[in-house]
Amino acid sequence: MNQPIASFVPLTTTLMDKHQESPGIFTLYLKLNTSAPFNFSFGQFNMLYLFGLGEVAISIMGWRNNLLLHTIRAVGRVTQPLVQLEPGQQLGLRGPFGYGWPLEQTKGKDIVFITAGLGCAPVVAAINHTVEHKQHYGRIVILQGVKHHNDLLWQTQYDHWQNTGNCQVLLAASEEYKHRYKWRLGMVTELLNFAEFDTENCAVLMCGPEIMMLAALKQLAKLHVADEAVYLSLERNFQCGQASCGHCQLGPFFVCKDGPVFHYPTVKPWFGLSGI
């Protein structure tokens, strides 16, 4: 776990640049008002504060040219005005919190990323990292499922990932009427049958709706991928990020502190139960 740069009181942060990824999805480039190093791992999250409106938990997208990247989908009462900020405007930041992806422990293995829904930032950040350091990993397989092909957020990235050589990129759209060369029809879990990876020496990194992850887990079991190879990033109501407020509990876990990335065997007894 990395020590947060600000844990209790937010740190002032300036928006330097803003890039629209797709309708409603923006990447913010933030400058932290501190000289202290910002240590994080992919999959960790920050609490971003918008003046007077409140905080929202956002997964870390990356760090580039001394700027922190957050990719945000404008859906909520804080995220909508958040992406409307203009360069030069300021916000608050606490974090990073929680545990990220095990990108060190999984070196030497084939890596399978499974994600669904609109732009799953926690997993995209990890994909970028593994692709950049592909010499440390085996094959890299990227599976993403969406409803419509327009929802495939990282249009330019897919080609980039595919063309780096080792990456197999499989995309599925469940509510398209027509098959196109880049994507298949159906659910992301069906893509697993086409994925080429060593089921005995792999790590599966998943993020997305829990119902998708449950379906993927079933499919992985059929392919004889051990539970121990699977890691999940979970979403819950994070208000403090410090395992204090109690909202993010899943069984005995505080998702903000013990997660948001979990080794699947750890959360298995509690994962996917309804009303928990």
């Binding site: 918008l50 003046f51 007077g52 409106l53 909508q80 005005p81 409307q84």
Partner: protein
């Protein structure tokens, strides 16, 4: 963030005009508020421009007459956001008690009832036009109003909350009147917002802020009966300020039925 002043209107339908005082009773804060909003229409404050185009129309009062309905539709057409304020606008108010009665009170009260033109039922605004946000309360508070405007100025509607009165009551460490006095307090099914005013003075809540999120009125009403209230008294607990709100109306009818059976 909206850079210029918000244009607002404060409208009144069938109501006592008390909720509008949330604007006027602010004291000096009103001066700060007027730097952020421009009031285009507010009869109680002396500004009359009913058809002004506005960002937010605050609507007080219930739809009780054919004119109310026309006015509500007109307001909708001229406003970006419509916010209903107070018990009348959110659930029909006190005057909605008439919805519960089959008897012809009009005949009994007025010498010439034919001159009274009103709809059969008094209802909340959202039953007739699209409402973007509701501020519950009888009356609403200055804090509610300002929080709404302030959040909107910052770019969002406030966090919706149907939190139960008990939560606020216990945060203030008031002693539960239901448990110590067997008082028929509606706190467990009523929305917070008043600051737990009645329990603070040792009185049972009678529901000025309307039904809370997921109100288990069945269970609470059963408890009232267990504390010794007769059926008609239980029914009456739910037939006060928000009698036309679905959960309270259902409970009223449930206990009236029980009462009717008991009489038989």
């Amino acid at each position: 963030m909206p850079p210029s002043k918000l244009a607002i209107a404060i409208h009144k339908l069938t109501s006592c005009s008390g909720c509008q005082l949330a604007f006027l009773n602010q004291g000096v804060v009103l001066l700060d508020l007027l730097n952020k909003v421009e009031i285009k229409h507010f009869i109680e404050g002396g500004i009359n421009n009913f058809s002004a185009e506005v960002d937010i129309a605050f609507v007080e009062g219930s739809i009780s007459t054919p004119e109310d309905l026309e006015r509500a539709q007109h307001i909708r057409q001229h406003s970006k956001l419509v916010v209903s304020i107070g018990a009348c606008a959110t659930s029909g108010g006190i005057q909605a008690l008439r919805n519960l009665s089959d008897e012809n009170w009009l005949q009994a009260v007025y010498a010439k009832p034919e001159f009274v033109s009103s709809l059969q039922h008094s209802t909340g605004v959202a039953e007739h036009i699209k409402v973007d946000f509701e501020l519950w309360g009888c009356p609403i508070t200055i804090q509610q109003m300002n929080h709404f405007i302030q959040q909107l100025l910052l770019g969002s509607k406030p966090k919706p909350s149907g939190e139960k009165l008990c939560m606020d009551c216990k945060r203030q460490q008031q002693v539960c009147v239901l448990v110590t006095q067997q008082a028929p307090c509606l706190g467990p099914v009523v929305r917070t917002g008043c600051g737990a005013l009645c329990p603070t003075f040792g009185r049972a809540c009678y529901g000025c802020f309307g039904p809370s999120e997921q109100p288990n009125c069945d269970s609470l009403a059963n408890q009232f009966a267990g504390l010794g209230l007769v059926s008609v008294e239980v029914a009456q607990r739910f037939a006060a300020i928000h009698s036309h709100s679905q959960p309270f109306r259902d409970q009223f009818h449930r206990w009236q039925t029980i009462h009717a059976k008991e009489v038989e």
